[in-house]
């Protein structure tokens, strides 16, 4: 059995809430069968107060083995490097100190969510709190633990980025650790597990037909492709949200709104309104990943010229107003 400890700091707890959405099977069954023993989780465990502190001390003094340390939420290093924006309840000690001490002895350290990975939403705006990730501060390697940090296993921090994470991203990463199959090669250059980060949100998007013909949505709620006007970053965002849906059959683009690239460092400050596509000379600034610009522009013009009436009309409507034509073989 691998002992797993889960702590939360400068975040919303939404990644834990999402983890509870795990299905086929539920998260508790999954942990049990993966050989993961939950030492403590803020939403699930019985131990509170002194019982929890005793357990943490047992880990630090070597009486209790720590295999996997999961951290959710940004590391609050302010004010002035003191970490006092989050003193862990009942302990008088900054959470950043707890995390450093525990990460030093954990076999694996896992950042759950974009806050713990890169700073995330908590680091947005002026970042008064000096919120940062475990091993990245935005796109820059470093963060609380430093660029050179490795866990006892010799591996860097695993960044299960997302705001929130999909429950399967967490459970499958933990399963791969439990199976002894994890190493740094399983991660991309931002430390994300490639199992989900080698895909694009665009893959399997239900609006693909609109994308093909550049039939674009204009207002929130329109059925068309949201890349041209609505700020959608699905063609650049590394995640499998449309091939591995959320809460049954959902995804951001299925839910009527654009992908905001929440698995990427610094997604929280895109430099433009989230739901408006920045353009230069009428051409969207962010082009689809790996697409040569000249080709994209040429193809877009060609497909716009060929957009079927059905897609043109449906793209700017909430309702399906023009169903696909039925072709009869006879008559």
């Amino acid at each position: 059995m691998l002992n797993l400890l889960w702590l939360q700091s400068g975040g919303c707890g939404g990644c834990s809430m999402s983890l509870l959405n795990a299905e086929s099977p539920d998260v508790l069954t999954l942990f049990e069968n993966a050989g993961i023993n939950l030492l403590w989780h803020p939403s699930l465990s019985e131990a509170t107060g002194d019982e929890c502190i005793t357990m943490l001390e047992d880990i630090l003094n070597g009486q209790l083995r720590l295999d996997i340390l999961c951290i959710e939420g940004s590391m609050m290093t302010g004010p002035m490097g003191t970490g006092k924006f989050h003193i862990m309840g009942g302990t008088g000690k900054p959470m950043t100190t707890w995390v450093k001490e525990l990460a030093d002895i954990a076999r694996y350290t896992v950042a759950v969510g974009s806050c713990a990975a890169y700073g995330g939403i908590t680091a947005a705006g002026a970042n008064d709190t000096d919120a940062t990730g475990l091993q990245f501060d935005g796109e820059v390697a470093g963060g609380l633990l430093g660029k050179e940090f490795t866990s006892q296993s010799g591996d860097q921090v695993v960044n299960i980025a997302g705001c929130p994470v999909h429950p399967d991203w967490v459970t499958e990463t933990l399963m791969s650790i439990a199976l002894g199959e994890h190493n740094d090669e399983q991660l991309d250059k931002f430390g994300r597990p490639r199992m989900y980060a080698d895909h694009l949100v665009h893959h399997g998007c239900s609006r693909n037909e609109f994308y093909e013909y550049k039939a674009s949505a204009v207002d929130m709620g329109d059925r068309g492709c949201m890349m041209e006007n609505m700020g959608c970053k699905g063609t650049q965002a590394h995640a499998d949200c449309n091939t591995r849906p959320w809460n049954g059959q959902g995804s951001c683009t299925n839910g009527g709104y654009p992908c905001i690239n929440c698995t990427a460092p610094e997604f929280e400050e895109p430099g433009h309104s989230f739901c408006q596509t920045p353009k230069v000379a009428g051409i969207p600034v962010g082009l689809p990943t790996d697409m040569p610009k000249a080709w994209f522009v040429a193809l877009a013009q060609l497909s716009k010229a060929a957009t079927p009436e059905r897609l043109k009309k449906n793209a700017i409507s909430e309702q399906l107003i023009y169903p696909p034509t039925i072709h009869k073989r006879k008559g």
Partner: protein
């Protein structure tokens, strides 16, 4: 007098610490500390107003949708925008889906496991409660988690995902419901209703909703064996442990009113104290900084003029939470407050007999599940897939707006100011800011601080279990509290 610092509290959302002064085996006074500051009110400054819809749900992963709704309503107020009926119905459904999920999660995962603690091993009810509710290994969690996940499939369809959606907009919803999806929604709610009736209540939702008094509640409870359903299990424990005598609050309640549709709300807004029901007076809300780690502004100020400047220099400070007050009074918010303000006869009777306490807070939560899930079926049927779902409007360069909503844990308000097309002030008062506030400049303790006074503390207890029951009976959300 001896001092106990209890924390970290888990099975609450976020981090929490409580300092207790105890004497003669009882809590004499308490100070509640919300130990994490993130500063959303400052993060939002200078951003485009519509971008609040991305930031504000991320204040909280468990009340995410309620933050979205409050933000969308503040934006709608600024834009002078109304919703089509479909927009209201879909907003209500998404909001209800989150609220009911939260009430369910609270009961099964956060609240009940405390009764499975070894400290209760000699109680006659212990063996059953232990095997049912033991944290992580009890049979209830294994049943409840799949039911919860299935119920949240409604979010998948209507909001894309949960938590953190962008489908909730000032003028309605960005996701229009197709005819096939409307049928699927009915199927999802039917499945969840079956779970509630078979497992939680052991009776029909209609029967639970119609309980009229405390006497009828106990009579209903005794009609069957107490192990017949989880609600009866709770009532049995509550009766033996006398939970109605534990955690008496201020008995002054506030609700912003919930689930609006075509100018009416399902539950009324207002405040309620000792039989006196008053209309909602938003202008009487003010926030005090005297015991917060905030720059002390002297006198309390209304949220529209609110300031958020963190400062550890305030020597009287002991929490990052500000102290919101209604006409200088400490109030309690939550399902109990909502139902007592609205006048549900069972809840009015419980409060008349023993006030706000651990029993009445939990009964109100479970009652809301029965009430709302029936309502959800009616709302789904009223959706017209052919009619509009969202209105669109222009953002003015300068304006002020307010967005009020009821979260699972109580009243949530957003106060927004726009200048030069950008957010120039954004103030948030969350449910647990009310319930878990520190003292104010009149030295009035907050609602929880009052509720734990008198709680029994056994010899040698470092994190008194009675205090844990009281704390969790409020279902605190510390992420929202400080935001």
């Amino acid at each position: 007098m001896s001092r106990i610092v209890a924390g970290p509290f888990n099975r609450v959302e976020g981090d929490l610490e409580i300092t207790l002064q105890t004497a003669s085996g009882k809590v004499q006074s308490a100070e509640v500390n919300s130990p994490l500051y993130r500063g959303f009110e400052r993060i939002l400054l200078g951003h485009k107003p519509m971008d609040a819809l991305v930031y504000t749900p991320r204040i909280c992963g468990i009340c995410s949708v309620t933050q979205s709704v409050a933000s969308a309503r503040a934006l709608a107020d600024v834009m002078n925008l109304s919703m089509p009926v479909n927009g209201e119905l879909c907003t209500n459904l998404v909001l209800a889906n989150e609220n009911i999920t939260d009430l369910l999660t609270h009961f099964y995962l956060f609240f009940m496991p405390d009764f499975a603690r070894d400290t209760y091993a000699d109680k006659p009810w212990f063996n059953d409660i232990h095997s049912r509710f033991k944290a992580t290994s009890g049979s209830a969690a294994a049943q409840m988690l799949p039911a919860r996940a299935d119920f949240l499939h409604l979010m998948g369809i209507m909001a894309g995902k949960w938590p953190h959606t962008l489908s909730l907009q000032p003028g309605g919803v960005a996701k229009a419901i197709e005819p096939k999806e409307r049928m699927r929604l009915l199927a999802i709610v039917a499945g969840f209703k079956r779970f509630l009736e078979n497992t939680l209540f052991g009776d029909s939702l209609a029967t639970i909703s119609q309980l009229q008094s405390e006497a009828e509640l106990w009579q209903w409870c005794d009609e069957k064996d107490w192990q017949q359903s989880d609600f009866r299990r709770f009532l049995q424990v509550a009766r033996v442990q006398e939970l109605s005598t534990l955690g008496r609050g201020t008995d002054h309640f506030l609700s912003f009113g919930a689930y609006g549709l075509q100018g009416q709300t399902l539950w009324a807004s207002g405040s309620y104290c000792q039989g006196d029901n008053k209309p909602l007076a938003i202008s009487q809300i003010a926030e005090d900084h005297s015991h917060s780690w905030m720059t002390n502004t002297g006198s309390p100020h209304p949220p529209a003029q609110g300031i958020t400047q963190p400062s550890l220099d305030n020597e009287a400070g002991y929490s990052w939470c500000k102290a919101p007050r209604l006409a200088n009074q400490v109030v309690e918010v939550g399902p109990l407050a909502r139902q007592v303000v609205d006048g549900h006869p069972l809840i009015r009777d419980l409060v008349a007999r023993s006030g706000g306490n651990v029993l009445s807070r939990i009964v109100a939560r479970l009652l809301e599940m029965a009430l709302v899930v029936q309502q959800m079926e009616l709302w789904i049927k009223q959706i017209d897939p052919k009619a509009p779902f969202c209105h669109h409007g222009e953002m003015p360069g300068e304006a002020r707006g307010v967005g009020l909503v009821e979260a699972a844990r109580g009243s949530l308000g957003h106060w927004l100011e726009v200048k030069n097309g950008k957010i120039s002030n954004y103030q948030i008062i969350a449910p647990t800011s009310w319930n878990f506030s520190p003292r104010d400049n009149q030295e009035q303790p907050g609602a929880l601080e009052q509720a734990v006074v008198g709680a029994p503390v056994a010899e040698g207890e470092k994190t008194p279990v009675s205090v844990q029951h009281i704390v969790r009976s409020f279902d605190p959300c510390m992420a929202c509290t400080v935001h």
